[in-house]
């Protein structure tokens, strides 16, 4: 009896129907899990094994005659890893999350145009809680938030890194 019922369960799990429905649902769940409308980072669970680099509130300065407001930090990845930037913006904003390599940051600081696209440029419209992940190698990186509006915008940011 037990053998039969376990065989039936095995048969269902491995049946074509279960595969047909289960696979898209599982992938959809994974893709949508990081994007939601909420006001805190609790909505985005930290990936198991990830190491939090920084977590806290940052106020991105307003746009000025110097250009868009910028707040950012340099990070170092000691190995190939997933770099996750989770953010929550509670008001309407015109922010852009940018991730640059150290070389690209140096180029921009010298006033030179980038020869390659930045690693990430993500529009943040606000209010929203979302995350963005990229794969990084062993290197220095710069993660910055650009503010294109004429008033400062606050954001809660959590940056984590997970070697794989």
């Amino acid at each position: 009896m037990n053998g039969k019922s376990s065989g039936d369960v095995f048969g269902f799990v491995c049946s074509r129907r279960a595969l047909l429905w289960g696979t898209p649902l599982a992938f959809g769940g994974i893709l949508l899990s990081g994007v939601c409308r909420a006001e805190s980072l609790d909505a985005i669970p930290l990936t198991p094994g990830a190491k939090v680099l920084r977590k806290g509130y940052v106020s991105v300065p307003a746009r000025s005659s110097n250009g868009p407001g910028l707040a950012g930090m340099d990070i170092y990845s000691p190995a190939r890893a997933w770099l996750d930037v989770d953010f929550a913006v509670t008001e309407k904003a015109d922010l852009t999350l940018m991730i640059l390599t150290q070389r690209q940051k140096d180029q921009l600081s010298r006033g030179v145009r980038l020869s390659e696209d930045p690693l990430a440029r993500v529009d943040i419209e606000g209010p929203e809680t979302a995350n963005h992940s990229i794969i990084v190698r062993q290197d220095n990186y710069f993660v910055g938030f650009l503010n294109d509006s004429w008033r400062p915008v606050g954001a809660i940011v959590r940056m984590s890194i997970r070697a794989f």
């Binding site: 053998g3 065989g7 048969g11 491995c14 094994g49 190491k51 680099l53 920084r54 806290g56 940052v58 106020s59 991105v60 300065p61 110097n66 250009g67 868009p68 407001g69 910028l70 707040a71 950012g72 930090m73 340099d74 990070i75 170092y76 990845s77 000691p78 190995a79 852009t96 940018m98 640059l100 940051k105 180029q107 921009l108 600081s109 010298r110 006033g111 030179v112 145009r113 980038l114 696209d117 930045p118 440029r121 529009d123 419209e125 220095n140 993660v143 910055g144 650009l146 294109d148 940011v157 940056m159 890194i161 070697a163 794989f164």
Partner: protein
């Protein structure tokens, strides 16, 4: 399943026979997905042949040919690879990371601002601006997007949105314009209308008739009425002057000139009247057309 040639001890041996094909696939997929090598235990296990036409067991079953389906069990041998780095201790990243803080670096700010959006990023910004009703901002974004070497497909999207943004911008500009009351002075003029049937004049003067057709006729006819009235007034004045001159001591030459003027004015009046009559006749149908009135009568 027509032939069962080999059998290895396994839990799957109790499964129904119609699931065998899937089990074989599973045995192939699972080891491959883990990157493990496999070995097939065909020879070590006792073979079992009970199908007529085969030659017993101990070894591969022999058949006379055709398709054969077999059940096999694979032994998974995991290879040791290089150790996966979980993390390096002490944490190097912590030692070199700066704090997330505002940065004041003009070059970096402007450069990052310029690089912060590709053509399609600007396209999406323009879409958002358009959704928020700011068509002017949308146009700025779209123009910037076109200058950033978009691909052909991106350019199509950008140009289509630019057309829409331009249309909305034009509409918004038109909506901003307010018609104001003109400070031009007007005057009421009394004119004599002649040669116009009463019912036609009544319809022309009817303030409840505001339809487009009669408005067009009014714009055509009223200047003609004024011209006709002016011609009549001029003719009357000249006639009056002529009478006054006849009573006085004016010479015949002067009288002749006045007479010529009167003649001229009469011709002009005649012409004006003819024009009015012809126009009224031409537009009579439109003027007298039955139009539902605004008061519902």
């Amino acid at each position: 399943m027509r032939l069962k040639t080999a059998f290895c001890k396994s839990a799957f041996a109790t499964h129904r026979i119609n699931r065998v094909r899937f089990e074989v696939a599973l045995f192939v997929i699972v080891p491959l997905s883990f990157g493990a090598s496999t070995a097939i235990c065909q020879s070590r296990a006792p073979a079992w042949c009970n199908v007529p036409g085969t030659s017993g067991y101990a070894g591969a079953c022999q058949s006379s040919g055709g398709t054969r389906t077999i059940v096999i069990e694979r032994e998974v041998i995991y290879k040791l690879g290089p150790p996966i780095t979980v993390w390096k201790l002490p944490s190097v990243e912590g030692a070199t990371s700066s704090d997330m803080a505002p940065i004041s670096n003009r070059n970096l700010q402007i450069g990052a601002g310029n690089e912060s959006a590709g053509p399609y990023g600007l396209y999406h910004k323009a879409r958002r601006a358009l959704r928020d009703g700011d068509s002017e901002k949308a146009l700025i974004y779209l123009n910037a997007a076109l200058q950033r070497a978009p691909s052909a497909r991106e350019a199509d999207d950008i140009l289509a949105l630019k057309r829409e943004a331009q249309r909305k911008f034009d509409e918004s500009q038109a909506a901003k314009f307010r018609f104001q009351k003109s400070d031009r002075q007007t005057e009421l003029v009394e004119i004599d209308v002649d040669g116009v049937p009463d019912n036609v004049l009544a319809e022309l003067s009817n303030p409840k008739r505001m339809d487009k057709d009669i408005e067009a006729v009014r714009r055509e006819l009223f200047p003609l009425f004024v011209a006709q009235s002016d011609a009549r007034k001029k003719a009357k004045e000249l006639e009056k002057m002529s009478k006054l001159n006849g009573q006085g001591t004016g010479g015949s030459q002067e009288q002749n000139a006045v007479a010529a003027e009167i003649k001229k004015a009469e011709v002009a009046l005649d012409a004006a009247e003819k024009i009015v009559r012809a126009k009224v006749e031409e537009k009579k149908e439109v003027i007298l057309k039955l139009v539902p009135r605004r008061d519902g009568q």
